[in-house]
């Protein structure tokens, strides 16, 4: 059973979640849930997910991320990939050196300088910067650190004032689309790795697709690159947050629970993790060594040699 939305449909996310919840409560839900966008903690608290402990050999994966949904000794869901917030800066762009940035406060000179970076609206600013403080802001699921929250709101307010942000990116009634992808002064902040498929064509292999995400940065750099200025720098956003994606779980009471568990296990196997690159996965593989292996394999490919010669230093 597939509960979702086809392209161009009039359903909203809320409509889909409502339909899914109705199916789950009545016991006729799907055998596998992809929990992205769903209230995962609430589903765990309500006992709506099956225990998947021991499904895979966790030593083969990035444990800190794989165990994101483990509570009370049980694992309720497995992310099959993850994203990392990255900053990329062209050399000589001015402003703070992003490699020296350790906290969100260190980013203040960059965020309040429109020559360094530009945000399209409140939503863009919030979504970009929130993960830099979210672990400290919510030390426990039901508590908020008010000091961190105040500091975050104060910094974002200064950024709003300095950049003259007056609304969200797009107002349904009054229009006004703002392109939030332009890098004005050479700093790009990616909340997710850029989408794959830049070089997509039928002859591409998994290896080619795997590193296309890394070379998407180069696509941006080509537009920013100043000959002789040196190589671009990529550094993680403060906070050290990795975002689990394509989070797979099996609903409690699923009709075919064994089939659901087998599906989740298959999504985490090495070959599947490699093949997922072919479908445009917006993230890094959960299994250790998959991305690094594909990257090494790609180094010898002709059309990437020129890019590698630029000396791109990649975050791993």
């Amino acid at each position: 059973m597939y509960i979702g939305r086809s392209a161009g449909g009039a359903q909203t996310d809320d409509d889909i979640i409502r339909q899914l919840n109705t199916e789950l409560v009545s016991g006729t839900g799907p055998d596998v849930l992809i929990l992205d966008g769903l209230p995962i903690q609430s589903l765990i608290r309500q006992g709506m997910l099956s225990d998947l402990s021991g499904l895979v050999d966790e030593s083969q994966y990035y444990g800190g991320i794989l165990g994101a949904y483990a509570q009370d000794g049980k694992t309720w869901a497995y992310p099959t990939c993850f994203a990392a917030n990255l900053m990329m800066q062209t050399p000589g762009a001015g402003g703070a050196d992003i490699e020296s940035i350790q906290t969100l406060e260190d980013m203040r000179p960059l965020l309040t300088d429109t020559a360094s970076v530009e945000f399209g609206g409140y939503l863009h600013l919030f979504e970009t910067m929130y993960t830099a403080v979210s672990p400290q802001m919510f030390p426990k699921d039901t508590e908020v650190n008010e000091d961190i929250l105040r500091a975050f709101l104060s910094l974002t307010k200064d950024a709003v004032d300095a950049q003259g942000i007056t609304g969200t990116e797009y107002d349904d009634t009054f229009g006004g689309v703002t392109d939030s992808d332009e890098a004005v002064g050479g700093l790009e902040i990616y909340t997710t790795p850029p989408s794959l498929g830049y070089f997509a064509n039928d002859t591409m292999s998994s290896a080619d697709h795997a590193v296309a995400s890394i070379h998407r940065y180069m696509d941006v750099m080509f537009s920013l690159y100043k000959p002789g200025a040196g190589r671009a720098v990529i550094a993680p956003l403060p906070g050290g947050v990795f975002m689990p994606k394509i989070i797979a779980a099996v609903p409690a009471g699923a009709a075919n629970a064994e089939g659901g568990r087998a599906f989740v296990k298959a999504m985490l196997e090495g070959q599947t993790q490699e093949e997922l690159r072919n479908v445009g996965l917006d993230g890094f593989a959960m299994r250790r060594g998959v991305d690094a292996g594909l990257y090494q394999e790609s180094i010898g490919r002709p059309f990437l040699r020129a890019a590698h010669r630029r000396g791109l230093r990649v975050f791993r």
């Binding site: 979640i17 409502r18 609430s42 309500q46 006992g47 009634t173 009054f174």
Partner: protein, 307 residues
């Protein structure tokens, strides 16, 4: 045995052998009501019974949790806010709507001398009923055009040298909601009042005028007491319609609007989105109990006035 005694015996035999059961008319009524009762049972009573059951079980309906859902609801700050807002909305809107619609009904009736229909009376009646026919989506669009930060109302305020108002992001949102509710339902209630006014006998007013009663005395001692049954019906329908204002509030301001218009329906919607079924059911049961008590009190009050 005399003829009379034989007749009585015959009658008694007939009486004893007559088939016991409902008279024909009652049986016909029951048969005609049966589909409606079946629908009521299937689509209301059965789901409501299941709701009561689920309020004592976990989300999957398998583990008994007792009254934990109820205590959790009563101690929940979001529920307290939503309940307070809903109560405030009802206490402000219902009396306001009843008074305004009654005034409109009296005015429309005044345009119909001697109880007959007139063009002007019909025109006003139709005009006041039109808001009920406006679709919710159109209402929402109108709301945004008027009350958005860059909307017409703020444009007018700026043109007159005043500061703009954040209608949907401040406590003003509550009064926007009240205004929308009253505007939308005034016509409907006006029609109910008109039906009640038409049921008052003209002879009462004539007799009062003969005794020297003025317009205010006629209204106070004849019109108002005669309208008590209509008041009961109108108040109950207004109470039930007040919950429908959630549609406009949700479409304009989303699932988490400004605190002043965060109603119980918002809370129920959000709890369902989070699959918090036991709390949702517990809150729904409590709301139904409160509304039932309210309606029963109202009916008792009206019945005592009737007596």
């Amino acid at each position: 045995m005399s003829r009379t005694e034989r007749g009585v015996k015959h009658k008694k035999r007939h009486k004893v052998t007559r088939r016991a059961g409902l008279p024909g008319e009652s049986r016909a009524a029951a048969a005609l009501l049966l589909p409606s009762m079946a629908g009521l049972g299937l689509f209301f009573l059965a789901p409501f019974t299941d709701t009561i059951r689920r309020s004592f079980f976990d989300t999957r309906g398998q583990q008994f949790i007792g009254a934990a859902g109820y205590t959790s609801v009563l101690g929940n700050s979001a529920f307290q806010l939503a309940a307070a807002n809903t109560a405030k909305f009802i206490c402000v809107c219902i009396p306001l709507l009843l008074v305004i619609s009654l005034v409109l009904a009296l005015l429309v009736r005044a345009l119909r001398p001697h109880g007959g229909a007139s063009g002007r009376g019909k025109l006003f009646k139709t005009t006041y009923l039109l808001p009920m026919a406006v679709p919710v989506a159109s209402m929402v669009l109108l709301w945004q055009v008027l009350f958005h930060q860059n909307g017409l109302v703020n444009a007018g305020l700026v043109a007159t040298g005043l500061r703009t108002v954040d209608f949907m992001g401040s406590t003003t949102a509550f009064w926007v909601l009240v205004g929308t509710y009253v505007w939308k339902n005034a016509g409907y209630n006006m029609v109910l009042w008109l039906a009640g006014l038409d049921g008052i006998s003209e002879s009462l007013y004539e007799a009062a005028k003969v005794d020297g009663a003025g317009a205010w005395q006629c209204f106070r001692f004849i019109t108002l007491p005669s309208l008590l049954p209509t008041l009961g019906l109108t108040a109950i329908l207004s109470l039930l319609n007040s919950f429908k204002v959630f549609r406009e509030a949700y479409l304009v301001a989303g699932p988490y609007p400004h605190d002043s218009i965060y109603l119980l329906q918002h809370l129920f919607n959000n709890w369902f989105q989070n699959l918090d079924i036991s709390r949702l059911c517990a809150a729904a049961v409590m709301l139904a109990a409160v509304l039932t008590c309210l309606i029963m009190l109202m009916q008792r009050f009206l019945k005592s006035n009737d007596d």
